[in-house]
């Protein structure tokens, strides 16, 4: 049995599905990273993902246009991000609680809309796999299948990691985000609008969460059902902490989590004598253990969850 498991670990199919499964986490966690670096904790990611998943799915179902699906997901995600920004930045509500409100809204609303407009689950034609010419045929260690034979959103997600890191560390907008999250009084005194920066990051974060949902419903699973995300948005929030608020750290966390998840799926097939409940638990247990060791970092925004008040 142990041999089975070890064999599984090194399977190319596990590696490939690790990368695929990581996609929604990467989108959602990068978005959440932006918001948190500016000082806003959005716990509603999962609810926004669900809405993004439904809107993306419904757009594809009715128009058969993947572009419209992605746009619909970005739109509703941005709208919910904007709502979260309004509640937490303008109304200065307790962020933990308002995030849960946003989550519950997304959970209920996506289910309601699905029952009202679709009813029975039916699959859609999602993003097809794109084989990168010349690379996807690479036989060596199965690299071609692992890295170069995925749907478009997978490539977009991985490309977003260095882009987000660049924005945060090498642009003026990033400088403002970091300053607003660490010492909003200082940013304010230097003429940076704390409100505007936080609205932007939380709205962007919402758009990415919407896209994360769509990457499930129109790229990975190609279907929508009640509570499709099953808490992935909460894991995405945890991954931001795990990654120490850095995009590459978040990527590492998403990969680790998805690897355990992929392994668990594979073991379910190759070693059915292990109770599946344990296997399903495994990724979450690993996340909690990893979080315990993720130490407090300097990148942690000091003003996280603290509404800004001038004077």
């Amino acid at each position: 049995m142990i041999d089975d498991i070890i064999g599984t670990v090194f399977k190319a199919s596990v590696a490939a599905s690790t990368i695929r499964l990581a996609t929604p986490y990467i989108f959602a966690s990068l978005g959440e990273t932006l918001g948190q670096r500016s000082g806003v904790l959005n716990l509603g990611v999962d609810g926004i993902m669900l809405m993004g998943a439904f809107f993306g799915y419904y757009a594809v179902l009715t128009t058969e246009s993947l572009i419209l699906g992605v746009l619909a997901a970005l739109f509703i995600g941005g709208l919910m991000g904007l709502a979260m920004a309004f509640i937490s930045v303008t109304l200065k509500a307790e962020q933990g609680i308002s995030g849960i409100g946003v989550y519950l809204f997304g959970l209920g609303m996506s289910e309601l809309l699905f029952q009202e407009f679709v009813g029975t689950p039916q699959s859609v034609d999602g993003f097809p796999r794109i084989s990168i010419p010349g690379l996807s045929d690479l036989q060596f260690l199965g690299l071609g299948d692992i890295f170069f034979n995925h749907n478009l959103l997978v490539y977009v997600a991985f490309a977003l990691v260095p882009m987000t890191a660049f924005v945060l560390n090498r642009t003026n907008f990033g400088l403002m985000i970091r300053a607003v999250g660490q010492n909003p009084e200082a940013a304010d005194a230097m003429g940076v609008s704390v409100t505007r920066v936080r609205y932007l990051t939380v709205t962007l974060g919402g758009m990415l969460a919407g896209l994360a949902g769509a990457s499930l419903s129109i790229a990975l699973l190609n279907v929508f059902q009640q509570n499709l995300t099953a808490g992935q948005g909460f894991i995405a929030v945890a991954l931001v902490y795990f990654g120490g608020w850095r995009p590459y750290g978040v990527l590492l966390g998403a990969m680790l989590f998805s690897f355990v998840n992929a392994l668990q799926l594979q073991i379910g097939i190759s070693a059915p004598e292990i109770p599946s409940e344990f296997a399903v638990m495994a990724p979450y247990v690993v996340t909690i253990i990893a979080l315990m060791f993720a130490s407090k970092r300097r990148e942690r925004p000091d003003a996280l969850t603290v509404p800004f008040e001038r004077g």
């Binding site: 400088l175 940013a187 000091d302």
Partner: protein
């Protein structure tokens, strides 16, 4: 109007800035009541007043952080509207805040680039900023490495970054809000040198302070505020310490106390090579040994953040020791809880009075019995509160300690800082302590309350209490203490007799220079 170019940024000179009839109303307080104020190129105008006099409010209006309800502001004789810090910066107004407005994780250059127009959008290009900073640091002889993150800098260096940043952004008028509060005497001299160079270059400076000798040393004119009103503006050449103090307080004040000689008694508190961690996790207190005798005040001097906080907390049992031992009246009390220390006669006036000193939602009476509420006479049989006894004790304290409060049932948060401090004093002294740890006992209180607290501490000394006075105000320490211990980076650099301690020696010690080295 002239134009000059410093650090790559062009800015306009402010020949004259006038604030006229400024009014600002906060709920329940008139923070600024028709205040006129002006400052000119090439001068240092000091703004003097007690806490709550309206100095910061007035300056925050000049920097666009608050909007005045009434009144006008003119720059070079044309009216301006300053709706935000952006507007202020655009007009050439800079401000060095009391709490530095720097982002710890960012580098010096990044902090300077933050919010700057021109490079606001797109990719960060710090080369120009770095070059400009180096030029400026040479011009003003302020050494700074633009690539160092702020958290690695000492407080004095952080202030230099603030000043360089304001200069880089083209500040022609600079507001300095209590800039000396965190500096050693030598650093203050250095700051004054920079300020003089700036006025020579045509800058206009506003210097907010409540330290009279500094105001006399650096300013050309002084404006005194009291209770939101302007008392007067006078040339510094016509001002004396006594005159300024009276203008601030509105009555004659005591500048020195009659300190009676008291015979030093037995050792009450002994610290043996005490080490403790700071909140950051490094050793905030390193092998501190100290003896405190009955009837003496030992002052602990040092720049903020050099272990004062840890020292006080370790003695009263709020912070665990890493090593070493503490004795009270000869008994080993190492690692004992605050409750035990309390019972053994150790009283504590904490630095953060609103956080560690009182429960601010509780009433005056409740705060007075925070430690003793479960004991006779405040609790019958240790179970049921005896409100009659509590109220009586509270009324006595209000009378004896001159606490200004509407009644015993007023929530403490509605009292002024000075009255809250008197309440804490009443509570801590009523238990006739053997040892009193007073951490920043007069910080942020008005001069009247300060005098009162000082007198009470001297009275306690005469009664034979051993007092540890931890203060960042060197004047206060020199005024009250018999011996002075200087803390630097968690170590006691030296202990000197107050009579032999001049400011220069203490200043050097506060910068870490040991006695025999100087």
């Amino acid at each position: 109007m002239t134009q000059s170019s410093v650090g790559g940024m062009t800015h306009q000179r402010i020949d004259r800035l006038v604030m006229r009839g400024i009014v600002k109303q906060f709920p329940g307080v008139l923070a600024a009541d028709h205040i006129d104020f002006d400052v000119q190129s090439g001068e240092v105008h000091a703004l003097l007043g007690e806490n709550g006099a309206g100095k910061s409010t007035l300056m925050k209006m000049l920097y666009g952080l608050y909007q005045p309800d009434e009144g006008t502001i003119e720059v070079n004789d044309s009216p301006v509207k300053i709706g935000s810090p952006q507007d202020a910066i655009r007009l050439g107004i800079g401000m060095i805040h009391q709490h530095f407005m720097l982002v710890p994780s960012l580098t010096v250059a990044e902090n300077v680039a933050l919010g700057m127009r021109g490079i606001r959008d797109g990719v960060l290009r710090l080369d120009d900023v770095v070059r400009g900073l180096l030029e400026l640091s040479e011009q003003y002889n302020l050494k700074i490495n633009p690539h160092t993150p702020i958290w690695q800098l000492a407080v004095g260096e952080q202030q230099r970054v603030e000043i360089l940043r304001a200069l880089y952004k083209g500040a022609a008028l600079l507001i300095l809000d209590e800039p000396t509060a965190v500096l050693t005497p030598q650093e203050v001299d250095d700051l004054f040198r920079i300020l003089r160079q700036m006025t020579d270059d045509g800058h206009a400076l506003i210097f907010i302070s409540h330290k009279l000798h500094e105001v006399l040393a650096i300013s050309h004119r002084v404006t005194v505020l009291r209770d939101g009103k302007k008392i007067d503006t006078i040339p510094t050449s016509e001002a004396t310490k006594r005159k300024l103090a009276e203008m601030m307080v509105g009555r004659p004040v005591v500048l020195e106390y009659d300190k009676h000689p008291v015979k030093r008694g037995e050792v009450r508190l002994r610290l043996e090579r005490v080490s403790a961690l700071s909140n950051r996790g490094d050793l905030g207190l390193k092998h501190v040994s100290l003896e405190l005798h009955s009837g003496e005040i030992v002052g602990v001097a040092g720049v903020s953040g050099n272990g004062q906080h840890e020292l006080a907390q370790v003695i009263v049992g709020l912070r665990p020791l890493e090593s070493g031992a503490i004795y009270v009246d000869g008994n080993d009390v190492t690692g004992k809880s605050p409750a035990v220390m309390n019972r053994l006669g150790v009283s504590y006036i904490p630095e953060e009075r609103m956080i560690d000193g009182v429960v601010k939602e509780f009433t005056v009476a409740e705060n007075l019995v925070l430690q003793d509420h479960a004991r006779e006479p405040f609790a019958r049989g240790g179970l049921f509160m005896n409100f009659k006894a509590i109220t009586e004790a509270c009324q006595r304290a209000i009378r004896d300690y001159e606490i200004k409060t509407p009644n015993t049932e007023t929530p403490v948060k509605n009292l002024s800082g000075g009255n809250i401090q008197k309440l804490i004093l009443a509570r801590e002294l009523s238990r006739n302590p053997h040892v009193l740890i007073a951490a920043q006992p007069t910080r942020g209180v008005d001069i009247g309350a300060m005098e009162y607290i000082h007198q009470r501490l001297l009275d306690e000394r005469e009664k034979g209490t051993a007092i540890l006075l931890i203060s960042e105000d060197l004047d206060e320490i020199r005024l009250l203490a018999d011996r002075i211990a200087v803390l630097f980076e968690g170590e006691i650099v030296g202990i000197v007799d107050s009579a032999d301690a001049d400011v220069e020696t203490l200043g050097l010690m506060m910068a870490g220079v040991r006695e025999h080295e100087s």
